[in-house]
């Protein structure tokens, strides 16, 4: 009784608004999701608002997709969730979208709490918005696009997984997906430069340098958990002789807001990065080895920011594009003797392969770094999601479903015979790490940066003096 009374005094955790204050965020973080999901079970649906949102945002493209679906089931075997769940018909993309968004549109938003919880569980727990099904539908129905739209509807109604609510809130409060401040970022850069300067004389991480050739942006977790990634990037830029900089404000290119369906948050986040482009006027931007960040900031971002051409203010490229350019122009030279000798395979991240067209780039890089490169089947645009995309890696509520989904990637990797997976994407990297943890198939996995650092030739003039 006492506890009930106490919880009634607390401000609600579930709301229809994004989290925008530290106080709200702290409250959410302390909850660990327990009270949050309890509140969600009885949280009312604002059917009037939902109806209005559908009227203004659900236009002919999505309505047509929902209407002309022929229920032919050709999308079934294109979905890794369907395959991983032993051909469970409730995992057929067509069924998943028709029973959620399809019903929602049919009923003009007149749905109840349980319906919305089912929408949430389907939109985040049974779809990673990998967009693979859309490539196989004869009618060109892209269910990934529709699930992303459904996520937006769910978010606007407060029906969003706990971690996604937090992620979106982080972006509002920190302009980053984690509680990393501008000071944290700059200090980490200074620290990493100092740590490595001994081995790479002259190494530094230029902050806010105007008119540089490259403005480099990253993923907040590199600051928080993998600062060596920032060090590796700086060393490679240093060895390549690049004129580069990082912006003190606008350094975070990821968007958990996109995974959460918080469209206002998405706009807010990318504008932070675009403002840095306007302020520092670099020739171009390079984003770190992250898939969804590339999708959010380069592919989708301009539309959120209202840029009619759909292009970022300065030309932008994924890290793999910069790597290939550096290898092809000879800015980075590989010691052929140090190429990877063992069989190695390559993960194609949905967000910059299927949705970004970079499959040839990563393959050309493999010819520089690997002697025995083996393709997964299927590959390139047809590759399967790692199993953890769309924010799924981070959501505790769907951990079991995520782990089942990983089986498809596990089997793809095993079939190559390679025990080493190159993954130039944070999300895929995590999923592959987790699949090793769950299924113990004895594989290693890596970003490109550490691989490159092991085999790149350091020009004589950049070597430490002791060695001369």
């Amino acid at each position: 009784m006492a506890e009930e009374a106490k919880s009634q005094d607390l401000p609600p955790l579930v709301t229809r608004k994004p989290v925008k204050t530290q106080e709200e965020l702290d409250l959410l973080l302390a909850d660990k999701g327990v009270r949050y999901y309890k509140e969600l079970e009885v949280f009312p649906v604002d059917t009037v608002a939902l109806k209005k949102t559908l009227e203004t945002t659900c236009k002919s493209r999505i309505r047509t997709w929902l209407e002309i679906c022929a229920h032919c089931s050709l999308c079934a075997d294109t979905c890794f969730f369907y395959l991983a769940n032993d051909n469970d018909p409730t995992q057929i993309p067509s069924y998943k979208i028709q029973s959620t968004l399809g019903e929602l549109v049919k009923r003009k938003g007149d749905v109840d709490t349980q319906f919305m919880i089912n929408c949430m569980d389907t939109a985040w727990g049974k779809c990673t918005c990998c967009n693979r099904c859309g490539m196989y539908c004869p009618h060109g129905i892209d269910m990934g696009v529709m699930f992303s739209y459904l996520r937006g509807l769910c978010f606007s109604q407060g029906f969003v997984p706990y971690e996604m609510k937090i992620g979106s809130g982080m972006h509002w409060i920190y302009n980053a997906q984690m509680d990393v401040t501008v000071t944290d970022f700059i200090e980490t850069c200074e620290w990493m430069a100092e740590e490595n300067e001994e081995y790479y004389p002259g190494l530094n991480i230029p902050v806010d340098k105007p008119n540089a050739d490259i403005m480099y942006t990253i993923n907040a977790r590199e600051v928080k958990h993998y600062p060596e990634d920032i060090a590796e990037a700086s060393i490679l830029f240093h060895l390549a002789g690049e004129n580069w900089t990082v912006p003190s404000k606008g350094w975070e290119e990821t968007s958990l807001a996109m995974f959460a369906g918080d469209w206002a948050g998405c706009k807010n986040q990318v504008e932070w990065v675009y403002d840095a482009m306007d302020r520092l006027k670099p020739n171009r931007m390079v984003v770190t080895e992250c898939g969804h960040a590339h999708r959010a900031t380069i592919i989708e971002g301009p539309y959120w920011a209202g840029i009619k051409t759909g292009q970022t203010p300065v030309p932008s490229m994924h890290y793999v594009e910069w790597v290939l350019e550096a290898l092809e122009t000879g800015k980075l030279k590989i010691d052929p003797a140090k190429k990877i000798k063992e069989p190695v395979t390559l993960q194609d991240p949905c967000n910059y392969i299927r949705n970004g067209g970079l499959c040839d780039v990563t393959r050309k890089i493999m010819t520089y770094i690997a002697e025995d490169f083996r393709e997964m089947q299927p590959n390139r645009e047809h590759n399967f999601c790692c199993g953890g995309g769309g924010g799924l890696n981070g959501i505790g509520r769907y951990r079991k479903q995520r782990n089942i989904g990983l089986k498809v990637k596990r089997d793809q990797i095993l079939a190559t015979g390679a025990k080493f997976v190159v993954s130039a994407c944070h999300n895929c990297w995590d999923a592959i790490r987790d699949l090793e943890e769950v299924y113990k198939i004895g594989i290693k996995w890596s970003f490109l940066k550490p691989i490159l650092l092991k085999m790149v030739i350091v020009p004589d003039h950049l070597k430490p003096k002791e060695e001369e």
């Binding site: 236009k59 209407e67 050709l74 057929i92 004869p138 009618h139 892209d142 539309y303 299927r354 067209g357």
Partner: protein, 224 residues
Amino acid sequence: MYEFVSGPFALISFAIFFIGIIARIVWYVKGLDWQLDRVAYSEKLDGGITGAARSLFHWLLPFNRTTANHPVFMAVTYLFHICLIITPIFLVAHVVLIEESWNISWFTISDKLADYMTLAVIAAGIFFLIRRIVEPNVRFLTTAWDYIVLGIAIAPFITGYIAYHQWMDYKFWLIVHILSGEIMLITIPFTKLSHFVLFFCSRIQIGMDYGIKRGGARGRGIAW
């Protein structure tokens, strides 16, 4: 009755059909929104046209992975649609009727070929029906409307076949045939049969999406 179904009702159904499909296309195009869809349709029209053309080419012809993965179903589907469109438009009896009414005519196919193509439509229709009942996944997705729509689509072919071969009361089956054709025309704009035009809209749209924004922006035509 014959006069009514072949006269004013025919005109009404053609009117509903043509106005209906044009309205669907206009509604579709007007509903596209560069910012909501996140595709720079007009700003990047070049990439859009290339992407749309690729999308249509790979799916109007069997050059796509779905055909490779499901060859039997896709072969039947292609055959069904080709015969369903060509037979009624180029059938001698239909062209003659139009010539008598409006004094315009065009190329025709032989009655023998039309007969085979009609049988192909009916056979494919039965294949779809059996697949809907037997294949667990398809059965799971199927609603009553899927059966109704399939019935509407193949009814003119079954009744036309019976009427042409004069197996039973010719006059009766001719009227039923004309009526079933008119029902199909009328229902096209209002049911899933609207994919008659919306297939093209959808394929062009997703082609533009890929051509402008996804792989196309990097010069990589999507591998349909």
